[in-house]
């Protein structure tokens, strides 16, 4: 019994000593780097939003300036929608809406669509998708520039009939080998624009009320309901 007690004591003290040293080291490092990390993290998280509405166009804290928009059967997602509002001098200049394209080649494609108050597309980004690598994944900015082709478009340019891929008589390129994916994205963007136009009055009103600022930022990932795993390849 004595042997056990002795052994327990020795091990506990030994390990405890290590805990103090290592824990201390880590804690100190953490304290020293905490601020910088927070700043980096915030910047990275907002990047997708900043890409859609560049920082030069607004001066508010995009991540924290969100509004709840009414649900609509125009958009595939159910329930109220969280949108980010960009403001310049307190005046709204644009809004970023989440959108889902349900008819991708495999599963949903989640998007962010930035729209200015006139209904022009400010930018579109994909937050998650499961399209085939090498085929449908060219909707990512990393793989091709295709997604930029929406910028500046609105419901009159092109006319609704031509809001489609070229193969179906539209104006948007499809990429070789994949028509389905681009078509799905085009449709989703178009639907978002229609939603915006139909609810324009109401939206303007909501946007103009400057809401209480959130304390915690809402990051696009959370809205898209998807968490990207670490990229493993």
């Amino acid at each position: 019994m004595a042997a056990i007690a002795q052994s327990i004591r020795r091990s506990a003290i030994g390990l405890g000593l290590f805990a103090v040293i290592t824990g201390g080291t880590i804690a100190v490092t953490q304290v020293l780097t905490a601020d910088r990390i927070a700043e980096q993290a915030a910047r990275a998280e907002a990047r997708a939003l900043f890409e859609i509405i560049p920082e030069s166009r607004h001066d508010n804290d995009l991540l924290r300036d969100t509004v709840q928009l009414p649900a609509s059967d125009r958009l595939p997602q159910s329930g109220p929608i969280t949108a980010w509002v960009a403001r310049s001098n307190g005046q709204p200049v644009g809004v970023i809406l989440p959108a889902v394209a349900p008819d991708g080649y495999s599963g949903d494609i989640r998007l962010l669509v930035g729209i200015d108050l006139e209904g022009n597309v400010l930018g579109v980004r994909v937050t998650s998708h499961k399209e085939t690598p090498g085929l449908g994944d060219r909707i990512e900015t990393k793989k091709s520039d295709w997604i930029y082709s929406f910028e500046g478009r609105n419901l009159r340019d092109p006319v609704p009939r031509r809001w489609n891929v070229k193969k179906n008589g539209g104006v948007f390129d499809q990429f070789t080998g994949a028509t389905i994916t681009p078509r799905a994205v085009v449709k989703a963007v178009q639907k978002t624009l229609i939603y915006f136009r139909q609810n324009r009055q109401e939206l303007r009103k909501i946007l103009n009320e400057t809401p209480e600022k959130r304390s915690a930022p809402i990051i696009p990932d959370a809205v898209a309901g998807q968490h990207q795993d670490a990229e493993h390849s």
């Binding site: 052994s7 390990l15 490092t29 990275a44 090498g134 670490a230 990229e231 390849s233």
Partner: protein, 238 residues
């Protein structure tokens, strides 16, 4: 254990006992992050740092730990180095950190590191231990880079893209693309390519070794004295 000379330590780390090619340890990060050279270098450097630190630390404290808590103690040391590295990377190369994902904290469980701590550092004095850490780390880094280059080149037809993630803006246009119109070979980018690529590297090393051995055995036949180590079982016979 016989102590090793420094040159032996160097040779072991880089070639004869290379952690990736010979010990076949540390595979997870090795395979997971080598789709491009920059990822490979990022992780390789982090691993190298941790390996040096942990080898040194373990060697310093090697006489003070009791057997039953040896493993947890080593692991804690490694983990604290890794956490520090993680925090630093977050602070200074955030994007790379995001790309490497959980493989940064997973350096803790890189078998090569604990393996070295246990097999070498805990039995040697600080200087050789540190050297061993450096060499093993470099050996590992070298394999990472070669595999990364191989996969990037065959998989995407590029080399050294996105080096700015690690080295800042000055490296932004280091990327080269030897062949225009190269059709991407996704196999090499995806997991299977990682395995096969490493398999090829190991085979390459084996065949080089075999050739060296052949050439050497062709030149000198080492004098082996057959039976020189015999002892007498029945003791002294009078």
């Amino acid at each position: 254990m016989a102590t090793k000379t420094n040159s032996e330590i160097v040779r072991e780390g880089l070639w004869t006992n290379n952690p990736a090619l010979v010990q076949v340890l540390g595979l997870c990060p090795l395979l997971a992050v080598t789709s491009t050279v920059v990822n490979a270098i990022g992780l390789g450097l982090a691993t190298l740092m941790v390996l040096m630190g942990s080898n040194l630390a373990v060697s310093l404290i090697r006489n003070f730990v009791s057997e039953s808590v040896r493993l947890p103690a080593f692991v804690m040391i490694i983990a604290s180095f890794v956490t520090c590295a993680e925090l630093l990377m977050q602070a200074f190369t955030y994007e790379l950190y995001q790309i490497l994902g959980i493989f940064i904290p997973l350096i803790v469980t890189n078998c090569a590191i604990l393996g070295r701590a246990d097999a070498f550092a805990s039995k040697n004095t600080p200087v050789p231990a540190l050297l061993d850490g450096v060499m093993m780390g470099l050996g590992f880094l070298a394999v990472l880079i070669v595999l990364g280059a191989m996969r990037e080149l065959i998989g995407q037809g590029t080399l050294f893209t996105d080096m700015d993630l690690l080295l800042g803006p000055m490296a932004a246009d280091w990327g080269i693309r030897p062949l225009e119109n190269y059709p991407d070979m996704l196999f090499m980018v995806l997991p299977p390519g990682a395995f096969v690529g490493l398999g090829l590297l190991i085979a390459l090393k084996n065949s080089i070794d075999n050739q060296i051995k052949e050439r050497r055995s062709a030149r000198v036949t080492e004098p082996v004295t057959s039976g020189s180590k015999r002892v007498r079982v029945t003791g002294q016979v009078s």
